[in-house]
Amino acid sequence: MTNSTEQAPGWKGVVNDWAADKETFNVPWGKLMMWIFLLSDTFIFSIFLTSYMTVRMSATAEWPMTSEVFALTIAGQHVPLLLIAIMTFILITSSGTMAMAVNYAYRGDRKKTFILMLATAALGATFVGMQAFEWSKLIEDGVRPWENPMGAEQFGASFFMITGFHGMHVTAGVIYLIVIANRVRNGFYEKKGYDIVEITGLYWHFVDLVWVFIFAFFYLW
């Protein structure tokens, strides 16, 4: 009926494949929409991080040493980046449980899916809790968005803004996970199929991935 389905060599074939009628990608609407949303969200976080790097360079006062600021003193020992390492480990573990939940969802094992999604949500909540601890520790040290006894005030401002924005994403993800997990348990998706678990997973993995970049650019630099 249409010659767009014809095999064509090279660039034209690529265009024809993409331009085929009805739908461009063989995925449900919700999943594609999540991908597009995440692309848009990627721009938000990229711009946050680029802005942070810019103000870090334009700041007149000295930037604090992150390995010293983000250190815990345990049994008299000064351990740099310990808390962040644990937080990162927890968040990445939660991506693992999420991936398993997606797997069990497609196998139709509602109970395991439910448990694994709750486990993911619990790990996410732990992450947010530890972040709150880290915030309180910094605030105790006198760091505020508008001032910083250790150097450039942009340090506190960027830190609270970016980790706060990311923390909001994690919190939203935890709520999202709990809602979907409950619906999975109640058999809400028996007819519709379990793509929703994968869509939730996309969001969750994205939030984790963003954290890796924040970790690299904020804590390690």
Binding site: T2, W18, W29, L32, I36, S51, V55, W146, Q154
Partner: protein, 605 residues
Amino acid sequence: MTHIAIADQPEEELHEPSSFVTKYIWSQDHKVIAIQYSITAIFVGLVALVLSGLMRLQLGFPDSFSFIDPSAYLQFVTMHGMIMVIYLLTALFLGGFGNYLIPLMIGARDMVFPYLNMLSYWVYLLAVIVLMASFFVPGGPTGAGWTLYPPQAILEGTPGAGGGILLMLISLAIFIVAFTMGGLNYVTTVLQARTKGMTLMRMPLSVWGIFIATILGLLAFPALLVSAIMMLLDMTVGTSFFMPAIVSLGEQLDYSGGSPILFQHLFWFFGHPEVYIVALPAFGIVSDVLSVHARKNIFGYRMMVWAIVIIGGLSFIVWAHHMYVSGMNPYFGFFFATTTLIIAVPTALKVYNWVLTLWRGNIHLTTAMLFAIGFIFTFTHGGLTGLFLGNVVIDLPLSDTYFVVAHFHMVMGVSPIMVLFAAIYHWFPKITGKHLHTGLGKAHFWVTFLGTYAIYLPMHYLGFLGVPRRYYAMGSTEFVPDSAQDLNASITVSALIVGVAQLIFIYNVIRSLRKGEKAESNPWGAASLEWQTPDTPPKHGNWGPALPVVYRWAYDYSVPTAKQDFIPQNMSEEEVERVDDSETSSTEGGEDVKNIGDEPVGDNP
């Protein structure tokens, strides 16, 4: 995991809303949402039009109007710009026409997520209400200029430095949320919900323009969102993202070490794609209007599609041409001038293609066509002055003069508005089932079109004289001759006439809704899918019992062998009535119009 495309799924029964509230207020029908978006956008647009009239009164006749003081003037400038660019043009093209046309043109019953689509409108309305509220807070709306540059935007002494700027930033953030909800819907709908036979390369250019513009919006608005958040923090919490150490009104403020240029980069990383968020739908819609009313296929369809895509891509790497005088590294200017001039290539290509579409076409000078042709004039004009401003050496003396004002009003003010009017006159019969009055429409066109030149041509000259923009009053300057003031007065008179002339349009719409001539389903003889609906205006679900099937592109006009001078997209090859071969050879114009009925078009270059 089995997944079936929507066009292949068995039809589900449609639940048509029954009560007035679900049908017209909390409606999830894309057509109703489109009309809600349009009415709201046109309403705020009228507010912005009145503001521009007030500005012109002050500029044309300084010292005559006591209620326009310098603060009020700056507030009018700011609100006029912001409302026109974001709350009128973006909302009307994407929320209005995007919503209305996408499902109808691609043969879908609705957007993929109607509920989200409905939310999009209500959140947009909230953004508008928050913005309008800033007129009523102490200190009034912000007067920082629509670019909201810090540090001055949030410093005492700038009008509306308290509540005004706060509400402006919040309103923008809300608008972005609304746009994202709508935009995700538009993109997913275009990609995934097309009907049988509707390949991407058979979509009307209107859909292409709206589609790419929406993608630009989804990627560009994040920059505005982030800068709005950072500026909100600067002003409320006291962070110093954009604020350097600064003395304001004799007082050393608590800021230090921020980067005002960063805001400019972020703002224009959004701001330049924003130009194309407005322009690309206009490009698409004008292509369709020209083609229908010239009874000729659009010239170079494939080229037009790729030009839209390429312009969209390039629009992300030209932003700093707005910042040649900002003090950024001069080498940036070299790069951004180059990319800016490159973007002129696909744009010029589109202009040539529009003109070539008209060339030897059977031009019907309907109101819609007049506006579309008017657009080619104003856009070419504004585009050419863009080449001046894109070059660093010419931009430096012209920066912040009336030349810039004239340029961007021609290219992204008047031109998209011309297309909006063309679109309204073109689709009004489908949307309402009534015709707009042609005589009133043509009067509206001529006053608007000629008035545009009466307003903006003299501004180019004022710009060359060096008259700076955004000044409340010029006072006495050596380099500006007294005659410039006469010119300013004449511009004001023209602007007021054009402003008042828009009442003709409003009257025309109201009059036609009440007692307009009844429109048949396809009054212009258009081939694209939205004119082939079983009902006019289309009912809930658009297509009656069965989705249409598409066999051809949207531009089969004056096909030499066909009896009718257009072939609708959903007419199969067997259904097309043909004339005998002997008649064909003697058909006038048979040589000019390539025979496009014999092969499936749109897929061939």
